[in-house]
Symmetry: C2
Subunit: 234 residues, 2 copies
């Protein structure tokens, strides 16, 4: 899912101008770009996004841009202030703590439901990702590990086949990713994390919903602790 994105910073956005038919609306095309820019802190928290500037930057008009900004407002990444414009949100420790609290509840629910359903395809996929994650940890490849870690958690969430849950989870994760990029450091390798992951996988394959949920919660409580400690430390 993490593809290279060479043209992101350039004036030209990589939408297909050659084809006469334009399948995807412009606002859907630029939304990921702006979101990436915020998540990767190229647009700093508190920064005021000027519409004319962004229009020139992406070579589009104000109408689709504002539609995209409206979506970003719903995701909590910008605040749309009348007659001021779009302001990149600047969550403090309390805000992040709140989001982590909700994230824990959502992923706990997800782990519980995945374990209860125990759908073969879902379970095997989670196991496969977990195995890769272990291998990446052994061979000391942090990037691959963190990548797989995200994939692991997302696999559990999508495994529920609960669209509402998935959407809400994704919305929170943008903020988590932003915070990780902000401190420019992921949580360190942790024996606890490895143990928790193993617990989660085992509970899922055994179909023990409560255990899976508990393991996931314990895991995320530690993740949240580390993430928030970074912020408080500064």
């Amino acid at each position: 899912m993490v593809t290279q994105d060479p043209a992101d910073a350039a004036i030209e956005v990589d939408r297909d101008d050659s084809a006469l038919i334009m399948r995807e609306p412009i606002h859907d095309q630029i939304l990921p770009h702006i979101r990436r820019a915020i998540v990767e802190s190229r647009f700093k928290p508190g920064e005021r996004l000027s519409e004319p500037q962004l229009c020139k930057q992406y070579g589009i008009s104000r109408t689709p841009l504002r539609q995209a900004l409206k979506s970003l407002e719903a995701e909590g990444l910008v605040r749309l202030v009348p007659h001021i414009g779009a302001i990149v949100t600047d969550p403090d420790v309390e805000d992040l703590g709140e989001k982590m609290d909700v994230l824990m509840a959502l992923e706990q629910l997800a782990a519980t439901r995945v374990a209860q359903a125990r759908r073969p395809r879902v379970v095997s996929r989670i196991q496969r990702i977990y195995d890769k994650m272990c291998k990446a940890a052994e061979s000391g490849d942090p990037d691959a590990y963190y990548q797989l870690n995200d994939t692991f958690h997302r696999a559990i969430v999508t495994g529920c086949e609960n669209a509402t849950l998935e959407t809400m989870h994704q919305n929170i994760m943008w903020h988590v990713h932003r915070e990780r990029h902000r401190v420019n450091t992921h949580e360190p390798f942790s024996v606890h994390a490895a143990e928790h992951h193993a617990e989660i996988v085992n509970a899922i394959v055994e179909g023990n919903g409560d255990a899976a949920g508990r393991a996931m919660r314990q895991h995320l409580e530690e993740v949240a602790r580390v993430l928030l400690a970074h912020r408080k430390g500064e």
Copy 2:
């Protein structure tokens, strides 16, 4: 919060045209109106909302209308299909079940956190609402009871002072309210519900987070069961 809304169906929307200063943007003014129309099933599920028609109806231009529709899309009340328009979503039993599942997790979290924090103002407010609810049940006033029931749950959610949780909860509740209006009948008085409510309040005043969360979950599982049974029955 349930105020009468006499001018809702009329051509004129009750925004202040007399004052020269317009504090609230138009799209923020019409959003609640359209949302109410969907929640109250005046706009039927699957219905295609024509922009020109809505523009005439509310006496506004397409730009603010589409901003409002974009918000409704984020709330899951409409689907914006390119070159087709805004379609009122039509959740089936599975969709509702998913939403109720998430709702349970959110309110369980809320009850747990409120009990753990045990803030005097919040606890006393919840107790006060609970008392009124009991009185309404005794005097056989269903409307007041259901009203207070919603207030009760919302008080617990807002008592967390977790903006993320509150927003997500509200977004799901629009769908619940819509479903209740759809079957045009609330859950019947239930001794279980009364017992559960008592359990929740007791656990909160005692500061027992786990018990409060468990009680809330049990309560909502029954509520969900009744709500979904209505839908399946038809």
